[in-house]
Symmetry: C4
Subunit: 237 residues, 4 copies
């Protein structure tokens, strides 16, 4: 049993969130899981992205949170990642950043509406805003941050595969996907649609949401049984 | 008969829209036509710009849409490009992106007004917003997206050579030109004037449109019989 | 008599306005004069910045506008530059761009107020907005663009050395200085203070102008007899 | 006694504020102190960042302001740095910039509120705005700029270790830290949270401040006795 492949992938995505402009200083972390081996790999805490190597990625037990491999402390957000992986079995990678526009939406106290096809290609409707933690919940801050994400999706009947991101009030976004690479792509898409939503309302404060038929059309072009975007099913389309 | 020159040019412009900052992830595609050979060349669908080579560019029949050369699926937006090329014989290249500010205007539901000479140098007046597709039209989404572009220009008596771009509501821009390189330049200009229009209204919500005499002067400096910008006609000007 | 030094300097500044992010496509030009030789050097018209070399810079007579050296057409804005050099003997370099935020101010129809010391370090108060040309004046568009700049400064008693820039309505900025390098620095400063003025009003629509005593203090730190910024007069300050 | 280590560090941070996008032209300076040797090291005045070397860094007596080493004039803001170092013994490095968004807040005449955890991780609450100088105080402009910073913190009972930055009205920000590297990080964080606060209010003009319990939680994750962020105290967290 080796964790090298997982560590390499998680290392690569941690560097990619910096290259994509989503991270300032050390404000971000990416993780991935290997469900067969029952482990999660995550960035070490407070380590600069320049000096980090794949060897610094920390391996923990997905069930207990115990460190299995690695000499450094894992990200302080580790308990949040663990809760999300345990609750959403379809999630294979998670990216947390303080990217500029997604964080500004999170700080605004508003959900991120779906205004166009760029959004619909990645998120099936509004990206929700979780609730604030209570005073008591702040004692296990990072763990309960994961719990309110799960509560938010279950309480509203949202499918984490269809809406692979959430905003945390006064904090910022978490995005995810079936693997770390797709979590990265969703984090990039989230930042971009957050910026465009801000600009759209700046141009027209009463800009309408995307019509539901166009939302369904675009989401289903890329996702589900009838998807025809990309190279999955060769066609003349 | 070889398509190599066309494939090289279309490949180069597909890379250039990324270098110009118009494309995030795989959200964009450029195409070109060779009307003598009756073919269109276009980016493959969902392929990353880093791994793409000129060989991956797909060649289709302009008349039938049949793939003539290439192993990958063409862009899912291929039917839109075909309809535009068939209707507007003066168009030789098309660039579609989700560039930040042009897409935000498209999402706002408003047309892009001409506020200054930067705009007038490329677009002879307002860049129009096409109408939404009906439920029935969504069944052939990409084809009918092209149809509403053509309808928009013909219905308003707009010359696609003078206004080489359109906004699609809740979606984003298409730009074009006599060849892929000029389509690229118009896509870059569109993003820039969309950003400046947004900023202009932010500074002064009642900023006036460009006066018509200045619009005519600037457009005719660069276009038409009396053009004197650039190196076309050596002069002491 | 050789123009090589002047051509090298004007070439360098034409590249620098691109590197500084002030220019998209070919929307900009820089010039310089050698008053002893009675010549102006300027960018050729519509030539891409990548393919341009110092040899492409065009030399014209400052008095007659006749081309003295160079195989390409000079910038179509050449007559504007000539009028400004002839009227303002203290100007040795001019930079014209369509830089994003300065152009947005020009499009807004408002002057650029002095809100802070960044502005005051370069411009002694408001950067003015020239008037629109009349229909008749548009016949000699570029020449009369220079004339309204001169009229604007003389009519208001503005010193072009103290306020080395102007906004042209529905068009964009011209900046200048005692030589091309300082014209470049003023063009960079103008874009930056235009952006900050837009953001300042976005944060607080009733943000006040800089108090006059702080304006005088900062401008005189860098300019005039009592200047003590930089390396001019060694001190223990 | 050698100042080489301090000069190297101060040189590196002066270059880093440019690389971080905080500085346009020469609008910024960083300094550091060695309290054992009683000296301050600071950037020379008006020197370009490209041509500057570590040898150009100027060493002054922290007590008298006398130049001890260096051939160039120190930054014209030197007296401001000296006053802050003398008053706040916990400060080991200072960074002054005209970074775009922090300067826009300073120009707006408003303090920078704490809207989220990104801010709370670096600044324990609102970043204050110092008062304007009086006419008399402008005679010793740079010295008195330092004095109003000290007055601002002492008058409000603010701890400069907990709120390591200030805004100067119509001017821009100063940030500091226990050493030049941390002053740099706080200057970067300040610019980022200033941008996000502007965007947050653009999205929702009545966006609420961060709740006090979340502010305390986040600040104490990184600072003080119970800090658990980073690699200070190995744990399984």
């Amino acid at each position: 049993m080796s964790y090298d492949g997982l560590k390499q992938e998680v290392f690569r995505v941690n560097r990619a969130i910096v290259d994509a402009g989503l991270v300032v200083l050390t404000w971000g972390n990416a993780s991935g899981v290997d469900r067969k081996q029952g482990v999660m790999a995550i960035k070490p805490s407070g380590v600069s992205y320049e000096s980090m190597s794949a060897d610094d990625i920390v391996i923990l037990s997905l069930e207990t949170g115990e460190i299995l491999e690695g000499k450094l402390n894992p990200s302080s957000d580790t308990p949040t990642h663990l809760v999300i992986y345990r609750a959403f079995s379809e999630v294979g990678g998670i990216v947390h950043t303080h990217s500029t526009h997604a964080t500004s939406w999170a700080q605004s106290g508003l959900e991120l509406p779906c205004l166009g096809t760029t959004h619909a290609d990645h998120f099936h409707g509004t990206v929700p805003l979780a609730r604030l933690l209570t005073d008591d919940e702040l004692d296990s801050y990072e763990h309960n941050t994961g719990e309110v994400v799960v509560e938010c999706f279950r309480g509203r009947g949202l499918d984490p595969s269809s809406v692979p991101a959430v905003l945390l009030p006064h904090h910022g976004p978490f995005a995810w996907g079936p693997d770390p690479e797709h979590a990265l792509q969703n984090a990039i898409a989230l930042e971009q649609v957050a910026q465009m939503a801000m600009l759209t309302y700046s141009i027209n404060p009463s800009a309408p949401d995307i019509p539901s038929n166009l939302l369904e059309k675009h989401f289903s072009r890329k996702h589900g049984e009838s998807a025809y975007y990309g190279q999955r099913e060769p066609s003349n389309g």
